[in-house]
C-alpha cells in the first residue's frame, strides 16, 4: 500500500520538477533579455544592429565569436580604444556597468550569445567568474 502511494507520486514529482526547471530556465533567459533592453538596447539597438560606424553591432558579431571570454569584462567595465567588428573599425567609448552582478552578467552574456543570430557556445557561471578576474 505504502509502496503504491510512493509510486503514484512519481509523475507528480516529475511534473513539478519540470515546471520549476522550466520556470528557472525561462527566468534566466528573461533576465538576459530584460537586462539587454535596460542597459544595452539604447545604443546597440533592439535588434543589435548598432549605429553606423559609431556603435558596433551585437548581431552576427565576429568580435563576440572570437572573444567570448572578454565579453563579461566589456560589459562590466566598458570599452575604450579601437576595436574591429565585422571588418569595420569602431572607436567610441562604451560606458561601464559596474552595478551588474556576476549572475546578471552571466545571463546577459548568454542572451547575447544565443540571440541576434549569434550562435556562440554559452558560458558557465564559473567561466564568467574566471573571465571577470582577468579584466584590465
Amino acid at each position: 500500500m505504502k509502496n503504491k502511494v510512493w509510486l503514484g507520486s512519481i509523475p507528480v514529482v516529475l511534473f513539478v520538477g519540470l515546471l520549476v526547471g522550466n520556470a528557472l530556465f525561462f527566468k534566466t533567459k528573461e533576465q538576459g533579455k530584460l537586462l539587454y533592453e535596460q542597459h544595452c538596447a539604447s545604443c546597440h539597438m533592439e535588434k543589435g544592429e548598432g549605429l553606423a560606424q559609431l556603435i558596433p553591432p551585437i548581431s552576427k558579431s565576429d568580435w563576440l565569436k572570437n572573444n567570448p571570454s572578454k565579453v563579461a569584462c566589456v560589459i562590466m567595465h566598458g570599452q575604450k580604444g579601437a576595436i574591429k567588428v565585422n571588418g569595420r573599425e569602431y572607436n567610441q567609448e562604451m560606458p561601464a556597468n559596474t552595478q551588474l552582478s556576476e549572475i546578471e552578467i552571466h545571463n546577459l552574456v548568454n542572451y547575447l550569445f544565443t540571440n541576434f543570430e549569434n550562435n556562440i557556445e554559452k558560458r558557465t557561471l564559473e567561466q564568467i567568474r574566471q573571465d571577470l578576474t582577468t579584466c584590465n
Partner: protein, 206 residues
C-alpha cells in the same frame, strides 16, 4: 455600389490629406495695430530667434543658414549613452530620405561642453553625413540652453546622470518663417514616420 462607396471614401481621404495643414505651436500673442484708420488684431506666433553657432567644419551657422528652408532640429551630445544613439538612428532615416531635397536641412545642437569642433567632425564622419545638409553645432552653453528653451526642449547639466546631462529627445520641425510646426519623440520610429509625413506636407505648403 460597394466599389463606388469605397472610391468616394478614398477620394474624401485624399482630399482631406491635401487640405491638411500643420498647426503653429507655441504661445501666441494678440497685437493691436492700425490699418487704414481701423484697429486690427494680429496674432504673433512664437518664432525661433536669431542664433550663432559653429558647425562640425568650424563654419559659422546662423538663422540665415536656414533662410527659405524648412528644417528639423534636436539637442544631443556625442557621448550620450541614453537616448541619443536611438535619436541619431532615427534622424539618419530623415537624413537619408531628404538629403537631396534643396529646401530641407537638419540641425543638431550639442549640449555637451566637451563636444568641440573636432569631436563633432569625427562624429559626423562616423555617421557619414554631409555638413551642408546636416549641421552639428556647438556654442556657448547658455546660448544652447536658451535655444533649447525656444524649442520647448528641456536640457540640464546633471553630474549624477550617465553622460552628465539630461535632455529630452524631441525632433522639432521648423518652417521657413521660423515657426514651430511639430514636435516628435525622436526615439520612437512611429513618431518619426509622422514627422516625415509632416515634412512632406510642409514642403507642399505655399
Amino acid at each position: 455600389m460597394k466599389y463606388s462607396l469605397f472610391t468616394l471614401v478614398l477620394l474624401w481621404l485624399v482630399a482631406c490629406q491635401k487640405e491638411q495643414k500643420l498647426p503653429i505651436l507655441g504661445e501666441r500673442q494678440a497685437v493691436q495695430r492700425e490699418k487704414d484708420g481701423k484697429m486690427m488684431t494680429d496674432t504673433i506666433y512664437h518664432k525661433i530667434p536669431a542664433f550663432s553657432f559653429v558647425n562640425q567644419d568650424g563654419e559659422k551657422v546662423t538663422e540665415k543658414t536656414f533662410e527659405g528652408k524648412i528644417y528639423v532640429t534636436d539637442f544631443f551630445f556625442t557621448t550620450c549613452p541614453s537616448i541619443c544613439p536611438k535619436m541619431k538612428q532615427q534622424m539618419l532615416r530623415v537624413y537619408e530620405k531628404y538629403k537631396s531635397e534643396d529646401r530641407f536641412l537638419l540641425l543638431s545642437h550639442s549640449i555637451s561642453r566637451e563636444d568641440s569642433v573636432p569631436v563633432l567632425k569625427a562624429y559626423a564622419k562616423k555617421i557619414n553625413i554631409e555638413t551642408k545638409k546636416w549641421h552639428l553645432v556647438t556654442g556657448k552653453w547658455s546660448d544652447i540652453e536658451k535655444m533649447a528653451q525656444q524649442h520647448f526642449v528641456g536640457v540640464k547639466e546633471d553630474p549624477n546622470e550617465p553622460g552628465g546631462y539630461i535632455h529630452n529627445g524631441y525632433f522639432v520641425l521648423i518652417d521657413k518663417s521660423k515657426h514651430i510646426r511639430g514636435a516628435y519623440d525622436g526615439t520612437n520610429p512611429k513618431e518619426v514616420d509622422k514627422l516625415m509625413t509632416d515634412i512632406d506636407i510642409l514642403l507642399n505648403e505655399k
